[in-house]
């Protein structure tokens, strides 16, 4: 017995020593610092990690990489006398799990040479020492010398930047607008060409729609089940309409007037029965909301252009709406009152999107950069849009391609010319994910009956614990 106890003690002590060593290590220190590493290699191995999988999630992206990018790039390099082997690490899980997996891979020096991540994660990953600015990985001259930057609009470039440095190349973006159902609008006696000028206009339309039986007047994403969708589709555009960004000048919005106004809008909608709380609370609530909108059961829906091109599309959509082009109207999201939006804006929008970056641990930084820029070149993007996306064109990371392709789609044209000029991007801060979760909780509180003032105050208290009271604005 005594011997066993002794062994146990030694074992436990040994374990603890190993443990303390392991989780504290800084992953960044192990990245390469030589931008010219293996620059002249004749035999090159590269891998691409993306949250897409053939036959499953983002099938078109996975097929574009495996059927077009890989052979075309291999061919291109072969002409220069370099043999390239590219493996594709497809995934297809939900974005949170995919992100966790990439973080673990990056911490241990693994992961694809080219990685696709969400633009909002750039700051977080940088703060965690997981990724480096492109200039540090492949060389400043290489990066600033790339001709493609001029074809990426300034607003889209916000996706790949953190603290003024480019970490990645954006894949594409989207914009949030108010979709509305013209059939239901006609039944409610509302105009076919609708553009609300204030939140009150939305409420008025909602009240008219409420008189049509079997219809949910407004769907505004809220609550915790909708997760990030609540923040970006619902709350942030409202906060922007009340004149504030969630994170500005190094400080987070706490219990402020704009915060209470945005939550107040939720209260108005839900307490008057203009929205269906079940849609926000179900774990498949977003899919249900899409299905109901497509089935002419929702009047007004604040969503990304993604709903238009991927859900309602009469050809490739999930919930196909044969009469989408005539039945679905769209309007800009108004500020609370004309001119009350950020910087005096009358209308607001929010955008997001994925980016591609180079793993700081890559053994072939120069070749990875070549591959990355190849994937971001106009011909490659155009091939993706026209041959793989099946007509569900989106706003890409290339203005030339957009000019050519978006003209044929009225909504995407509207988004790129009207919504993107007034759009904002989510803060790329390390704490954003946690703050976003608090925001979701605040909307859930209001939906379940708490007053906006109480919800905002609870939110601000939790916020101070996460980011520190010094970094919170209250007024």
């Amino acid at each position: 017995m005594r011997i066993r106890t002794g062994l146990l003690t030694i074992g436990v002590a040994g374990c603890l020593l190993v443990l303390t060593g392991c989780i504290g290590q800084s992953p960044a220190s192990s990245g390469n610092s030589d931008t010219q590493l293996n620059a002249n290699a004749k035999d090159v191995t590269l891998s691409i990690s993306s949250n897409s999988i053939v036959g499953g999630k983002n099938d078109s992206g996975a097929r574009w990489i495996t059927q077009y990018v890989v052979p075309a790039f291999t061919q291109m390099e072969k002409a220069k006398g370099v043999t390239v082997h590219i493996t594709f690490n497809g995934d297809g899980s939900d974005d949170g799990s995919y992100g966790q997996k990439q973080v673990l891979a990056l911490r241990t020096g693994g992961g694809g040479d080219i990685l696709e991540i969400d633009g909002t994660d750039v700051g977080d990953y940088s703060e965690s020492g997981l990724i480096k600015p492109l200039g540090a990985v492949v060389g400043q001259d290489e990066v600033s010398g790339w001709s493609g930057w001029s074809q990426i609009s300034k607003s889209v470039q916000q996706l790949d930047e953190y603290k003024g440095q480019a970490y990645a190349i954006p894949i594409g973006t989207d914009g949030r607008v108010l979709f509305y159902n013209k059939n239901l609008f006609a039944q409610a006696g509302l105009p076919a060409n609708w553009q609300p000028k204030s939140w009150a206009d939305i409420i008025t339309a909602g009240q008219a729609l409420k008189k049509v039986s079997g219809v949910t007047p407004i769907q505004l994403d809220g609550g915790t089940a909708m997760a990030e969708t609540t923040t970006v589709n619902g709350f942030l555009p409202m906060l922007a309409g009340a004149g504030q960004l969630l994170f500005d000048n190094g400080k987070w919005q706490g219990n402020t007037a704009a915060m209470r106004s945005a939550l107040g809008f939720y209260q108005q909608i839900f307490s008057q029965g203009l929205a269906d709380p079940v849609l926000d609370e179900e774990s498949q609530g977003r899919d249900q909301s899409f299905a109901e909108f497509a089935a002419n059961k929702i009047g007004i829906y604040a969503e990304s252009d993604y709903m238009w091109r991927s859900i309602l599309s009469p050809t490739v959509g999930n919930d196909k709406m044969a009469d989408r082009n005539s039945a679905v109207g769209y309007a800009l999201i108004p500020a609370q009152n004309p001119g009350s939006g950020i910087g005096g804006q009358n209308f607001v929008s929010y955008s997001g999107g994925g980016v591609r970056l180079i793993n700081p641990h890559t053994k072939y930084p120069q070749q990875a950069w070549e591959l990355l820029t190849f994937m971001a070149s106009a011909p490659a993007i155009e091939t993706y849009e026209t041959q793989y996306l099946g007509g569900a064109t989106q706003v890409t990371g290339n203005t030339e391609v957009d000019k050519k392709l978006l003209a044929g789609d009225p909504l995407l044209n509207f988004v790129s010319t009207k919504a993107l000029p007034v759009t904002h991007f989510r803060p790329s801060e390390g704490d954003y994910t946690q703050v976003s979760a608090l925001v979701q909780q605040a909307t859930a509180d209001v939906i379940s009956g708490k007053s906006p003032a109480d919800a905002a105050s609870t939110y601000a208290t939790s916020l101070a614990k996460v980011v520190g009271q010094a970094n919170v604005v209250d007024n």
């Binding site: 392991c22 983002n58 911490r107």
Partner: protein, 281 residues
Amino acid sequence: MTTSKPTSFGPRWMVGRIGFYVLIAVIMVFFAVPMLWLASEPFDKNPGLAAHWPQWTLHNFATTFRNPNLVPSIVNSLLLCGAATLITIVLAALAAYVLSRVRIPGRDALLYVLLLLSSVVTGTAAMVPIYLMMYELGLINSILGTSVVLSGGLLPAAIFMLKDFVDGVPRSYEESARVFGASPRQVLSHIVLPIARPGIATILVWSFIQAWGNFLLPFLLLQDTGKQPAAVIIHTLQNEGGGVDLSSLPVFSLLYSIPVVVLYLLVNRRYGFRFHGGIKG
């Protein structure tokens, strides 16, 4: 046969029997209704997230088999879970036998502690340690490595349950066999194993289904799509709109469920499927 004396076929007996069958029917409905989806939607022209009488078609099967990951993922599942089950069952049987037959001080307490720890390790919080440890061991992307981790989580409960089985084998058998000069190996292979076989078979099925349904461990530890089991691939079944791919999901669910059902039927036929045991107070 035990609830009534054979002579009483009177009205009270009839009411009792009717009540009995009504009760059984209610329970059967409770268990059967949720499964209707799996029986109807794979064969329906417009499969949805709700069960309804199908417009029969096998078209969904064609669609599902077009997914290049389907067949490999089921094969991977079989490899992964087969290895995990094999490791679990062999090691658990050996350990359970020793723990049942040799008195080790603090044996029960040790088993309880391990049982409790296994709940921590199968939770989300342990994923970071497990990932980092597997990375240090060079076992990321290894099906065998992942199966060993699965076994680690299954072993305590498997030992716990198997020990109950072995406890149920009377020691007198072994004692008399030894009196007649049988070696420990003979005792084990001719006496203990045959008696404990139904128990081993049952725990084998239990281990297999636990491994079969595990998503998080293989998801994190197997990065290569070509190595991922069905439990992971089923989560990737989305259409271009990002919604659940309803033409593939029901068929995939059905195919993914078949191996465990077949294993159960085989074991049940051969050994009978039963649990044993109880903690001796």
